[in-house]
Amino acid sequence: MKNRIYLLATVIFAAAMLLPAVASAQADFSGIWQPRYDEDNPERIPGPELRDYAGLPINENARQFADSWDPSRITLPEEQCRVHVSPYIYRGPMNLQVWEERDPKTRELIAIKHYISTYEQTRTIYMDGRPHPGPNAAHTWMGFSTGHYEGDMLVVETTHLKQGWVRRNGLPMSDQAHMTEYFVRNGDLMTHIVVLADPVFLAAPLVKSQDFVRSTRELAAQTWLWVCESVIEIPRPAGEVPAYMPGEHPFKDEYARRHGIPLVATDGGPETMYPEYQKVLEKQPIPPPLPTRGGRAGGAGAGGGAGRQGGAGPQGGR
C-alpha cells in the first residue's frame, strides 16, 4: 500500500513537472520529409486526366477556363518552367526539408522554412507575428505565409499567391486565393491539410490532405535540384496561345467514357464532393465506352480536332 502511495505521488509529481513543458511544447517539424502518394495517386503520379473535375468545388468560370486549356500551352517557352503554387506543389513528387530560424539572442522562433526540391522553391512561414503585406505587393509562387501554433498543430495562413493550378489539367487557382494549412506531426508522420478559398474559381473551399514520412537518410545533393531551361519545342507564330474554343473541348467525354462515369459528374462543382451525389449519379446515363484498341478513336485524335482555337490568323498574334 505504501509503495502504491509512493508510486502515485511520483507519477503526480512527474506529471506536475511536465505539465508546463507540455503546455508550451510545440511540435518541431525540422528534418527531411518525403510524401506518400497513395492518397489521390492517379492525380499525383501518373497525372490527372483531361476533363476530370469530379469532386472539386469549382465554379462555371473555372470550368470554362479548364475546358479551353490546351495542354500544348505548356510547350510555350515562357510557360515550360512554370512553378506550382504552394497550395498545389506539396501534391507532387518532391523532397521537403524543414528547418527553424530562431533569434540568436532570445531563441525565439522567427520563421519556419520549407525547401521544396520541385522547382527549387524556398518558402518562409513567419512566426513572429508580422502582418501580411499590403494589396499592392508582388505575388509569388509560395505566397506570403504567417503561422501560429494551436496546441501542437501548426496553422499557416497564406496570401499573395500567383495564379496557379487546382489540378494540373487546366483547372486554375487565381491570384486572389487564400490558403489555410494545418501541419500535424505524429512521430515520423506528418499530416498536411490544406483549405483553399478562391473567390474567382472556387464555389466553395477546397479541402485536401497529404501525408509525409520523415526520412532517416541523407539524400544525394542532386535530388534537391530542379533545373529547368525553356526551349522552343514547337515552332509557332510569336504570341500564339494554344486554346480550345469554349464548349468545344475535343476530349470532353473521353475521361467519362474510359471510366464509365456519367458525364455530368466529370463537370465537378461543390455538389460532387458529397456522398449524397451518388444518388444523383444513379439517375444519370453512363456514356458508351471508348472503342477498343484498333477501333476508331473515340473523343478526338491527338492534335486538337476541330475545336482548337486558331490563335493566329492573317493578323493574329505575333
Binding site: S68, Y119, Q121, N136, G239, A243, P246, Q309, G317, R318
Partner: protein, 363 residues
C-alpha cells in the same frame, strides 16, 4: 421567336458589321475616355493614402487614386513616370520628397489619360530641368524652371487637339519634349532608360519605360491587374496593338531562376508584378481576342458572341473593373469585324478599309 430573329439578322451582320456598331463604338469609346476626368471631379481625394511600394533601392511604385506613379531617383535627380490625377499632386510630391531631396528632372507620360497626366503641371513645376546654350539663350533662364515632360508625339497631339467630347488639357500640362518613332533613350542616374513606343494599343501614344539597370518596366495602361484591357478607340487604341504590346513587354522581361522576380513590372493600375503575371494577362487577352475572332469568322452577331460568354473564365477576376466584360467584347468584336471585312475586300480596295492596323510579327 427571339432567337430566330437574331439568327435572321446574323446572316447579314456576319458578313458585314452594321454601321451603327461603328458609330456606337466610337461614342462609347469617347464617353469612356472622358470618364477618368469626370471621376476625378467626383472623387474625394482627401482620404486617399499613397502606398509607396519599394521595387528596388532606386525605384518605387506609388499607388493611390488614378494610375500608378513610378519614381526613379539617384545622384542626378528624380524621374517620374506618370503623375496620377491633379488632385493627388501634393501627396505624390510629399512621397517623392521622402525618397529624394534631389530635383525632379523628368516627367514621362505613358499616355494621354487624365488619371496619368493630371499632375503634370504641379509635379513638373516642382522640379528643374537642365538646359543651357541656345535653349537658355532663346527662352531665358525660365527654360530650366520646371522638369521636362516627355511623351510620344501623339500624346501632345491628343492633349492639344482632344477628340470631341473629351476634356481639354491646360497647355501647362502638355509635354515639353516629344519623340517619334520606336523609342527614345537616355542615361539618367547612371542608368539606361528606354522609352519605347507601342503603336495603337491602349491609345496611339503609349510608351513603356524600361529602367535597364534596375530591371524595372513601367507599362502605363498597356498592362494592369485590375481590369480587362481598355482599348480606347477614340484615342487610337486597337486590340491587336494591345496584344502586341503585351508580347513586347514579355520580350523585355527575364524571370529569375525560380521563374519569378527578375524583371519587375509596374502596371498602370494594380499591384507590383513580374513576368509571370504579364504572361497570365497576355494569355487572357489573346484567348478572348482569338475566341471572338473565331466567332466573327463564323458569321456570328455581337449578341450571339456575347451569349457565348467569351470572357466568362475571367469575369470574377476582372469583370468588376473599369472595363466591363460587355464593353471589352464590344470593342474587340467591332475591330475584328472590320479586320474580317478588310480581308474580304479585293486587294485594290484595301486603302478604304477602316480596319485597325496590325503590326507584323516579331520585333
Amino acid at each position: 421567336m427571339r432567337t430566330s430573329k437574331c439568327e435572321g439578322r446574323s446572316g447579314r451582320q456576319g458578313r458585314r458589321p452594321a454601321r451603327w456598331l461603328f458609330v456606337a463604338g466610337a461614342v462609347v469609346s469617347a464617353a469612356v475616355a472622358t470618364v477618368g476626368g469626370v471621376r476625378a471631379q467626383q472623387q474625394n481625394f482627401d482620404n486617399v493614402q499613397i502606398d509607396a511600394v519599394k521595387v528596388t533601392d532606386n525605384v518605387y511604385m506609388l499607388v493611390g487614386a488614378g494610375g500608378n506613379v513610378t519614381v526613379q531617383f539617384g545622384p542626378e535627380g528624380v524621374l517620374v513616370v506618370d503623375t496620377s490625377y491633379a488632385q493627388m499632386s501634393g501627396k505624390i510630391l510629399a512621397e517623392i520628397r521622402k525618397l529624394s531631396s534631389e530635383p525632379i528632372r523628368y516627367v514621362v507620360n505613358t499616355h494621354v489619360h487624365p488619371d496619368h497626366i493630371g499632375g503634370n503641371e504641379a509635379i513638373a513645376k516642382a522640379g528643374r530641368t537642365r538646359a543651357g546654350g541656345n535653349v537658355v539663350g532663346d527662352l531665358g533662364a525660365g527654360a530650366t524652371n520646371q522638369a521636362a515632360v516627355l511623351a510620344h508625339e501623339n500624346v501632345l497631339n491628343r492633349m492639344s487637339m482632344p477628340p470631341p467630347g473629351q476634356q481639354e488639357v491646360p497647355s501647362a500640362a502638355w509635354p515639353t519634349e516629344t519623340y517619334i518613332g520606336k523609342k527614345k533613350e537616355m542615361i539618367f542616374n547612371n542608368e539606361a532608360v528606354q522609352i519605347i513606343h507601342e503603336e495603337n494599343a491602349h491609345t496611339d501614344g503609349d510608351s513603356l519605360v524600361f529602367f535597364r539597370r534596375n530591371d524595372v518596366i513601367a507599362t502605363g495602361d498597356l498592362f494592369t491587374t485590375t481590369m480587362y484591357p481598355f482599348i480606347d478607340e477614340a484615342n487610337g487604341g486597337t486590340i491587336n496593338g494591345y496584344v502586341d504590346a503585351l508580347n513586347d513587354i514579355l520580350d523585355l522581361t527575364v524571370a529569375s531562376n525560380v521563374n519569378e522576380g527578375g524583371t519587375m513590372v509596374i502596371p498602370g493600375h494594380g499591384r507590383l508584378c513580374d513576368e509571370q503575371d504579364v504572361i497570365e494577362y497576355r494569355d487572357m487577352v489573346t484567348i478572348v481576342r482569338d475566341r471572338i475572332r473565331e466567332y466573327v469568322k463564323r458569321g456570328m452577331t455581337l449578341e450571339q458572341v456575347k451569349a457565348k460568354k467569351p470572357t466568362l473564365d475571367w469575369d470574377r477576376r476582372y469583370g468588376d473593373g473599369f472595363v466591363k466584360p460587355d464593353a471589352f467584347i464590344d470593342v474587340v468584336y467591332k475591330q475584328l469585324s472590320a479586320e474580317k471585312a478588310a480581308a474580304a475586300k479585293p486587294a485594290g480596295s484595301a486603302k478604304a478599309s477602316p480596319a485597325p492596323k496590325a503590326k507584323e510579327s516579331g520585333k
